[in-house]
Amino acid sequence: MRSLATARPRPFRLGTTGLVYLALVSIVLVGTAVAAARGHNLLGTANLVDMLTRSSLLGFVAIGQTLVILCRSLDLSVGYVMALSSVVAATTMAGDPARIGLGIAAVIAVSALIGLVNGLVVTRLRVNAFIATLGMGLIIKGYLDTRYKGPAGDIPEAFQLFGYTRIAFLPLSAAAMVAAAVLAILFLRMTRTGYHMYAVGGDAEVARMSGIHVERPVITAHVLCSVAAGAAGLLVAARFGTGSTLVYASGYDLESIAAVVLGGTYLLGGRGGVAGTVAGVLILAVLDTVFNILAVDPFFKDVLRGVIVIAAVAIYARRQVDRTASRSRFAGSRGGPSGGTGDPPHPAPAEQGGRT
């Protein structure tokens, strides 16, 4: 994890990303102390594996969601893409180890296609991303519910290892998630499209006038987000050993957005990064594990999570207000890629949740 802490997306992001990791460390410390008081070791192998396993699934989804949110878009279809991918993987592989590669390829193709459609609907048809991806989710849900009445397909043993193998306390799936995060960070920092994502998310109009094809980064982000959700679907299939259609009811779409925002990425695009998101995912996983150790009522967990997410974002918002006070920034971006109409220049950027 330490290598991630040094890989920050922007020099001036040091503040928020640092804060997120500070929060993570203090939550781990407090959690360890609380668990120790109950005679448990939070950092014992079993609990570490539990935390890392929890975070790998949400991690994939949240990394993709980060890219989309950086472009000032949103993807509410990730949960359905996960469910579809797990079914596609399981039915393509059909229990035959020789077809593992084919199954993975099919998942990537299907999820990339969904992402492409999402991106095109958002940019070309100018449908609001919230509605476009919600509609896409409904379309996939209808297909899944009609076509499959329950778990479908069969995952060969060899691929199920992806879900269960671990080196000491590090599950293979968590390592793959971290690798995906590093790739995403490199993508954002090293490639032209990565830079363009920040530009388009910050201000699509200025980006356009600077000669950027504003549609390309948005479409790319949607494709990558769906592929990341597809990877999460592969992981689900590997864990369950079969295609599970009901994953979409687990709320990964909204939870991934919460993780991204918890990681310090600005919901209206242009600021933030994947490193923070990974910390956000880990914070949620650590909290879950601590709640489990303390045997907190599962319903009370929901209450606590809601309060914690709101509180954390309120703290970041306060910091962002401070920073914009010292940095004069013409924050008001006109018309996102989804074709809104002039947002005001914001003295305080976090004011609106409705996306234009």
Binding site: T146, V303, V309
Partner: protein
Amino acid sequence: MTRTAVPTAPGRIAREAVSRLVGGGSGTVFALLILIFAVIFAINPSFAQPPSMLAFAKQAAPLVILAVGQYFVIVSGELDLSVGSLVGAQVVIAAKLIDGEESRTVPVILLMIAFGALVGLVNGLVTTVLRVPSIITTLGTMLVLYGAIRLWTGGAPTGALSEAFRRPGRGGIEDLPVIGQLPWALLIALAVGAAALALTRSPYGRTLIATGDNDTAAAFSGARVWRVRTTAFVLSSLLATAASILIGGFAGVTAQVGDGLEFMAITAVVLGGVVLGGGRGTVIAAMAGALTVEALFTLFNQLFLPSTIQPTVQGLIIIAAVGYAARQRSTRSP
């Protein structure tokens, strides 16, 4: 679906009327609504009878009321994801506290109104004063309400609603000539609609829309942006409370009763041509959007469409309708 609505009528006057109807923005939803009803009537002429239409109105009333509340929030530039779990919470609260006793109906309804106002106030203040994006605030409220209600009831709702509580949702003025029963739900929805229309034309409503359009300009013009937006959230939660009374009476008590309603309300409002991000759209179109969503479900039932495929068709129609409206808007004002 919307393709067929493209004007082909001969004659300039007709053409003008049609082009106004399908001219993007808010007009599209009315065209879509008429189209869906035309198809329903063609399949099942008996649906045009007053009793069927009134039954439809009774069923659609809660969503119309929710759409009005969501409209206020969306037009002010925010989003309210908490209405679904608020409806669920209110129904469960009502059942648990009333527990079948007629005499408790009114006090419990007053308590529900207070609770609704409190939730809206928290949503509004956290969004405006603490500057948390409303999608996160209301997502948090949604989680908190969802968890708290199940924690309180131990997972399964207990108690029962009183007859008086159920009357607005399922009762009506009985034994009228021709139409039979005139549902209270329809009258309540009409009253809410009329009040909402009056409110949008009032100084508050104009300030609300101005705030959604450009909150800096509104602030410079003397509007207290935080107060305007917080009021919108309170209105949304109060209307969700009203909808929960209708839904509780109509559908009965389960903890899942509100699941997904927030997305349906947002869909209805956006289908009505109201722009997410604020400042554009009318409350009448939002209500028509809610009717369209309900009419769509009725159409699915009339077509004997398997219930599992319905989301697919719903998703396609929403994307197509919103895309169509957006295309019209962008070509009209380049």
